[in-house]
């Protein structure tokens, strides 16, 4: 990052100094910060290599316009936070992007493909996988089954092939192997034969993230990953999110906790009343008058969450 002498770079000493690992092992973060160094902190700012590019996304419920985002680009390989006061339309926007809701109008391109007409499962297959604000563990299934169901392109998931185990046994074994590695990484390997419903809230968050990784996503969408997680687990969850970036994935997450946003986000997009009001690095955002107004103006209470 030394070759970049712009303001955002100078304003970011904190996250760098907090990295416990040497920068050499953190190629992802270096690349992510470098790719955003020249981006102006304005809403809808163009990026070098956007994995997601949204244009004129609008969702109205009757007369209420929940989301009206003119333009948003998400830089590939970065961790981007989507913040805003309660009712700003963050989760609705998330649901639109992932195909869980239909826009009134607007279009977006994900990884070079038009994604606004895709259904939710097609979005996931295209490589954009989401998690949920209220964790959705498949409670009466084992942790291992929760993982295995995530694997993509399983032949055995076709009805006729399900009847002939030799066709899919090898693929199943490979998926199981991969699931074991992920469970190891997320420290859930001892729980693999437990029902997911027996896990604690924080462990379910970990499981949901690990399960999403079974699909080899290009982009991971986390809806309030820290909601209801205790401080000890929070730290490990943060590290896992940083690891996603190191593994070359793009992360977009909705969050309320500004400390967390500061610690892991490379870029922050701020929504208020359905619109994208500004973008920038975490430090630029903290100093931005519009953000402070959005939070402290009409929605003072929301900022306390």
């Amino acid at each position: 990052m030394s070759d970049e002498a712009s303001t955002p770079e100078a304003a970011q000493p904190e996250p760098e100094s907090e990295q416990p690992v040497a920068p050499a092992d953190r190629a992802g973060i270096t690349a992510a910060r470098a790719s955003l160094a020249d981006v102006s902190p304005e809403p809808g700012a163009p990026k070098q290599d956007p994995i997601l590019k949204a244009e004129g996304v609008r969702r109205a419920f009757g007369g209420l316009v929940a989301v009206d985002v003119a333009h948003l680009e998400v830089q590939r390989g970065t961790i981007t936070a989507l913040i805003g006061p309660n009712g700003a339309g963050k989760t609705t926007f998330f649901n639109l992007l992932t195909g869980f809701d239909r826009p009134s109008r607007g279009e977006w391109v994900f990884d070079g493909r038009r994604a606004d007409r895709m259904r939710s499962y097609q979005v996931a297959r295209a490589g954009m996988v989401r998690t949920f604000q209220l964790t959705k563990a498949l409670t009466r299934m084992t942790v291992m089954d929760n993982m295995l169901i995530g694997a993509a392109d399983q032949l055995g998931e076709r009805f006729w092939a399900g009847l002939i185990p030799p066709l899919w046994k090898a693929q199943e074994a490979a998926n199981r192997q991969k699931a074991m590695e992920l469970l190891e990484r997320f420290k859930l390997v001892d729980k693999r034969e437990d029902y997911a419903g027996e896990l604690s809230g924080g462990q379910r968050k970990l499981l949901e993230m690990a399960r999403a990784l079974m699909l080899n996503p290009k982009m991971v969408m986390l809806d309030e990953p820290m909601a209801g997680v205790n401080p000890a687990l929070k730290q490990s969850l943060l590290e896992h999110i940083k690891d996603l970036r190191e593994d070359g994935m793009t992360v977009l997450f909705v969050e309320h906790d500004m400390d967390m946003v500061h610690e892991i986000a490379d870029w922050v997009a701020v929504m208020a009343a359905g619109q994208l009001i500004t973008e920038g690095t975490p430090d630029q955002i903290s100093a931005d008058r519009r953000v402070i107004d959005a939070y402290l103006g009409a929605h003072h209470d929301a900022a306390q969450r």
Partner: protein, 347 residues
């Protein structure tokens, strides 16, 4: 009081043709409700279109028996698509509402006087089962004795001392085919639910949004489960119609669906053998109460002043209902179910 008779009757019924109908219907329901979480309250309609598909083809249109079977199965697929396409994208309750209404519509259609020259209206139809019983390999007037198994002019008696099992030649043929079908469906279902396909179904039962977020076409899986469960329901309808050699619209009322549910919950939902065990137990209990009470009144053990023969029927259902309530309190997972699974918070 003739306990030998009571037990013999009840146990004969416990693995007999009617029990097979309940077992088959509940096997289909197990795939839909037990594994996929689809609230199909119209399983009776699948049995009805199966039974009537066969009867109408053979009697009204004069088609061969096997065409009747094919038409009955096709009708079940069409019914599943009709019910599924508008509702399976919506929340679970919509399917429940539509299926319960559709089942009633199907029954009313078969009952309607408009087509009664073909369907027989509320009297139903007969005369379609001869080709089936023509295939009966059991000798019509067989007589033999082999240890505790004997046949007396075509009637099979299996003597166990305390009780015996007795079946007519026709029952035997229905049971041979029926148990064969049960075995086939259990093997197929066993393979399916232990495959990745079955895992997706269970995922949908737990949380379909989560499964959707993992790239699975939830609608297609739910539709497959509805169609396959409906086909098995239609087969239950065939066995039902053939075992009685007639079809009657009012036999396919909502009660029929709810017996399937009782059987499934009693045996244990989402367990391969749950429906079979549940059906055997349900039909055994029904018969032992009915025969036992009837015998007790006849022999004067219970005074006719307390309860008379015509009150036995309703009382049996009262007792079964009470049993069901007790089961749900003390063993909500059913006989074969897993309590640990049920105790998890399912929101």
């Amino acid at each position: 009081m003739d306990w030998h008779f009571v037990f013999s009757q009840a146990l004969t019924q416990a693995i007999g043709p009617t029990m097979i109908v309940y077992a088959l219907g509940a096997i289909g329901l197990n795939l839909q409700f037990g594994y996929t979480g689809l609230l199909n309250f119209g399983q009776a309609a699948f049995a009805a279109v199966g039974a009537y598909g066969l009867a109408l083809s053979v009697v009204a249109f004069g088609l061969p028996f096997w065409w009747g079977i094919v038409i009955g199965l096709c009708a079940a697929v069409v019914l599943a698509l009709l019910m599924g396409i508008p509702t399976l994208r919506l929340r679970a309750d919509y399917l429940a509402i539509v299926t319960i209404a559709a089942a009633e519509i199907v029954r009313r259609l078969f009952r309607a006087t408009v087509w009664s020259e073909h369907t027989g209206g509320s009297d139903g139809m007969r005369g379609f089962s001869d080709p089936f019983f023509a295939l009966n390999p059991y000798p019509e007037n067989g007589n033999f004795q082999l240890g505790f198994v004997s046949m007396d002019s075509g009637r099979l008696v299996v003597e166990f001392g305390l009780f015996n099992l007795q079946y007519s030649g026709r029952d035997l043929w229905v049971m041979t085919v029926g148990w064969g079908l049960i075995a086939v469906f259990l093997v197929v279902l066993g393979l399916l639910v232990h495959s990745p396909w079955g895992r997706v179904l269970k995922g949908i039962r737990e949380d379909e949004e989560a499964v959707r977020s993992l790239g699975k076409n939830v609608f297609a899986y739910k539709m497959q489960a509805l169609v396959i469960g409906g086909l098995i329901g239609a087969v239950a309808g065939f066995v039902f119609a053939l075992s009685r050699a007639n079809v009657q619209p009012d036999a396919f009322s909502t009660d029929f669906t709810f017996y399937f549910y009782v059987v499934l919950i009693l045996g244990g939902a989402a367990r391969i053998f749950g429906p079979v065990l549940g059906a055997a137990l349900f039909w055994f209990l029904y018969n032992i109460f009915a025969q036992g009470l009837s015998q007790a009144i006849n022999s004067g053990v219970i005074s006719a002043d307390v309860i008379n023969q015509t009150q036995v029927g309703p009382l049996v259902f009262f007792l079964l209902g009470l049993g069901m309530v007790l089961l749900l309190i003390f063993r909500p997972q059913g006989i074969l179910g897993n309590r640990r699974e049920l105790m998890l918070d399912v929101r």
